[in-house]
Symmetry: D2
Subunit: 365 residues, 4 copies
């Protein structure tokens, strides 16, 4: 079994999630063993603390060193949105395989460039839509593929947080268009757009409204959305609603979706991520505890069902999938989102913003 060298850019929330997943993979059957070569950040003392806590061999303050390091085969980008493009393009330029957190770019144009370069270079490219790697979400996809729900008819999803509710919260990079691209659309909505694409079909038209509830933070204007609501029309005729908010009172990261097909319906809620609710007979909702060793991704864990996994374990599945793609034929599909998915997601996000501005429904370019 080979080792693969990883370099990680960013040591915030996503940096922790990716680091822990890489360690977990050292006690789980995997096609290769990750070697944690270097972690990168700007603040030297915070960086060294992160290096020690997250078990990386080296800490570097310049990602250019990482992408040029011959011990590194995979560049893992967990940095803020405005650091997605340049370092990832450089890594691609060095022939590294790349995992980039969502949203792939701040807008569709930026995402398209990443996609084009990654495809041209022939490296493995993956966009961090980790929800695809929850067993229940993957089971939903399999049920759709097997036709158990019939044709998609309706899809609805919401991602509700309350992080922007208080007006006195600081204007972090998430409230600035230059750094983030957009607000709830890019941060939370991108997950929902990926889910609708993964489970119900490609959006072709969007009607949306957005809101910025707090216009100014710390003396500076907020030039991104705090929330959006959208009607999406899908290829094939299905319709959906998507909603994300950073100002939904007292909701703490509630992310849930429902899909109705011609033969059945399903529901999922991240708060109960080991469960999938399936309705294939009227007024009979089956709560499937997706913890059986035969369930998606679950063969690597425990010999008996009833042993829930956690949210962080989605990254274990995601990174294990990346290892398989690198060790194997280079394809990260069918489970994972690649840069094409990242680009297509951005096209719908852009259409949502355009519709909100114009008051007209917008075709997804």
């Amino acid at each position: 079994m080979s080792e693969l060298g990883f370099a990680l850019l960013g040591h915030g929330f996503m940096g922790a999630a990716h680091s822990r997943a890489l360690h977990a993979l050292r006690a789980i059957d995997a096609p290769a063993t990750p070697h944690l070569v270097s972690i990168c950040g700007r603040d030297r003392s915070a960086l060294e603390a992160a290096r020690a806590r997250y078990g990386w061999a080296e800490a570097v303050t310049d990602w250019r060193k990482q992408v040029a390091d011959p011990r590194v085969q995979v560049f893992d980008n967990a940095a803020p949105n405005d650091l997605h493009a340049e370092p990832t393009l450089a890594a691609i330029g060095h022939g590294l395989h790349v995992l980039c957190e969502k949203p792939l770019g701040r807008c569709a144009a930026e995402a398209r460039r990443l996609k084009q370069e990654a495809e041209r270079a022939g490296v493995v490219h993956m966009c961090g839509f980790n929800l695809r790697f929850l067993p229940a979400v993957r089971l939903a996809r399999e049920l759709v593929e097997r036709g158990e729900l019939g044709e998609p008819v309706h899809f609805r999803a919401r991602f509700l947080a309350s992080s922007a509710l208080r007006a006195d919260q600081p204007r972090t990079w998430r409230f600035a268009r230059a750094a983030a691209g957009s607000g709830a659309v890019a941060d939370l909505g991108s997950h929902l757009v990926d889910l609708v694409r993964y489970l119900a079909g490609e959006p072709v038209r969007v009607s949306a409204a957005t809101r910025t509830f707090v216009a100014e933070r710390g003396g500076e204007p907020v030039d991104v959305d705090d929330a959006f609501s959208a009607v999406v029309e899908l290829e094939g005729g299905a319709m959906g609603t998507l909603e994300a908010s950073r100002a939904a009172g007292r909701r703490g990261n509630e992310c849930a979706f429902q899909l109705d097909g011609t033969r059945g319906s399903l529901s999922f809620d991240v708060d109960r991520l080991n469960e999938l609710e399936l309705i294939t007979e009227r007024k009979q909702a089956r709560r499937i505890d997706v913890t059986d060793p035969s369930d998606p991704f679950m063969d690597i864990w425990w010999p008996l069902p009833g042993h829930a996994i956690g949210w962080g374990d989605s990254f274990v599945h995601e990174l294990r999938h990346l290892l398989a793609a690198v060790a194997g034929d280079g394809s990260v599909r069918p489970h994972g989102a690649d840069f094409e998915d990242g680009h297509r997601c951005a096209l719908t996000c852009d259409a949502i913003l355009r519709s909100a501005e114009t008051g007209r429904s917008q075709a997804v370019a």
Copy 2:
């Protein structure tokens, strides 16, 4: 305690619901006792069976006799949509108090005329939005009024049925614009529009899409919608999504809503109509079993909590409220919807249909 004479037009689903509620009121504290004078329908033998089953004194085949009957004080219209306006206007003309099932009219213009005539005549007028009379829904309203949720931010509601899923189902009046006005919008969506108004505020702008999944039934065209999805923007800045469908695979009359305010959130699902979920602390969802004698409408039932009521009991509360309005000052508010509510609801329904046709957001006139 006085008696009030009732005349009922219609003996279908709603006719049964109203009849049973009137009987229930004979064993419950109420400001007046209903007397079931006459029931009206077109098919004489079905009508006589309904009269016997539902315990009415007389059966008549012409509603004109009912509205002119001096023993009748309240005209209860539970007929199909195209029989809402004319008989109700005639009853108003005779000075009768009126309860008309939703939607009040097939379009806003029809609803406006009913509202204007009822107000001019000074009779008690009520539109049958029975969901307002579920204790949990009323509790939601009280929580909003007391400010426990802060200012409304988001509202979402769905009403999902599967009654139109099969292409071989007959083209009943519900699939014809002339009889029904519209499809899922009028039948299911009107409930959702009333709920958003009751709980979150007046819609001022709407962006929507509609679908008709089966274009023809029994050789005749279907000229109404089978489903709609809408973004609604409310007075004061809140946003919402509304969705109704008659083609949501295997959903059996699922009606649910959520309201997020600046200080808290709540959720309700008709399938568990005795419960209200309230979130006022992050990640703590209180499931309130709304069965305490101190809960809205519940003082008339049982001495101890834990004794669920049924969907049909919403009509007991609704008709008891009507009795109080007739016996009292003539106002059906704050609990009940009156014809003004019926009219305002129709304005939003019309805007939904216009937006779907034009592909542009529409102001609610």
Copy 3:
């Protein structure tokens, strides 16, 4: 369709429940129409208020008049436990059909006499275990009968209230052995014993403990139990646990059970009485919304599923079943509990009390 004259003894909680059910049956298909002849109580002014509120024709203060009234065919005993035997025996003596609230007697000996006299007289006799008439409970029984759960293995049930938690609550008749027979055992436990018999099999041996948490109320000793916990062993080898309490902090009439068989398991909770949870595949719990017109007892209500019934409607089903028995062949089975069920239940209740006293497991006589 014939009329049947009813006489009701008692106008408390159960008196209200029975009265409302009888009125409801006037707007529902039933084999006979109940006529509410007379209601009986001791306090004349409370009785007259009850008569008016619950819609009875006459109020009488002596049940002896009721049982001798030629207009009466059914004697409905909703009085406290120490008024179960004598009036019911008198009614049987007059050849009346009888419905007696649970527990049938204060002890097995008293229950046996009622059973023997009713059988000897050949009247219809029914014991008021209303939970059997909840559609979900009846569906549970049908699933057992059809063998879908295999052979019973485990049964567990609890009935938790908090009515006796406070030491300053008055010593009503429910705290006196002479009036009530026993405490939580007779009042709440009898329901659980009936359920285990109805769904899992006859108890043959019992090991139990009881507690009286407040020894004295209002200066008088409490000589009944506030709570019990029991292991029951059933004919055929299954085992179960039963628990009832009047001192379970802040529980408000929580009644729930689970049955595990060799092929499947089910769960029920009165707080969600329209639902039955069924497990026939590992880690897949089907929540059945028992509201379809094809579900037990539901054909009389609404044309579509999704319309929940209430707790009070169990009495509508119970009394409709009684009407059918009286109008038909005299048998209240298979749905209803008769006096033999009341007697068998009392045998287990007595064994629970004996085991708690002796510290030894006890055979059910």
Copy 4:
């Protein structure tokens, strides 16, 4: 930060769980870093596979080498029950700190010897009741300690599996008294006994029944229980029911408990291990999502709530606690169970078996 050398005996289910937790601790703040020195098993090829998969430095086939290895400071016993005593005693003899899986001994006498030797040697000793390390269970304990539930009144717990349902399953060591001590009592019941002790108080008296549903497997007699049901009476007057089964049809490792106190009640189910239901107001059940960084054990994970942990993470908390005890004052309390807890648990398990044999309630010695 120091390193601590671990030796693991056993590479089955528990061996995997402990190994993965030790790796996870390399990317989490902890008082010491575990070094995975050696893993031990009997089958050389399975052992080597386990060593590689679970990331241990060496594989040895004799635990005597492990306990004598100077690089080892902690002996982690995840072997079958009949290998708990001798290797653990040997490790204690070498002055190693010890973690032993539950049940500590096959009977109370064996557990007592382990407890006495560990206390005499002054090493850190811990018994693997991992459920204590679920945040929701720990929160339950804190609520009890803070008096929010008042005095305990009732406790009920069940652990339901279906692993022994089929008669053709092989007679593993779990079906043999010599190897396992007892059946469902030792394997599943020990968890429940630890929970009742942790949350409600010490059992003083027990009444129980047991069942062995399949008397013979693979031609050999089954001399342990497949299931038990017990009433437990606690110090201070509370009562409880405990039930465990390996033959509960289609239940897949369902473990749940409820505690009722004089001021409130709580419920927990391992299937939804991130949630605790708390009732402190009648008919208001608060579902607490125990994922906030301020919740027990959760400060080491993510910056925001709503990110569920998994069952396996209980071992991360358990082993981190052990690291703290070793690095600190030597005490594993208040979170962890030590060998005294293991011994006290065994006393109640023995009493359950004695009561079932004798048909009499038994004092817990």
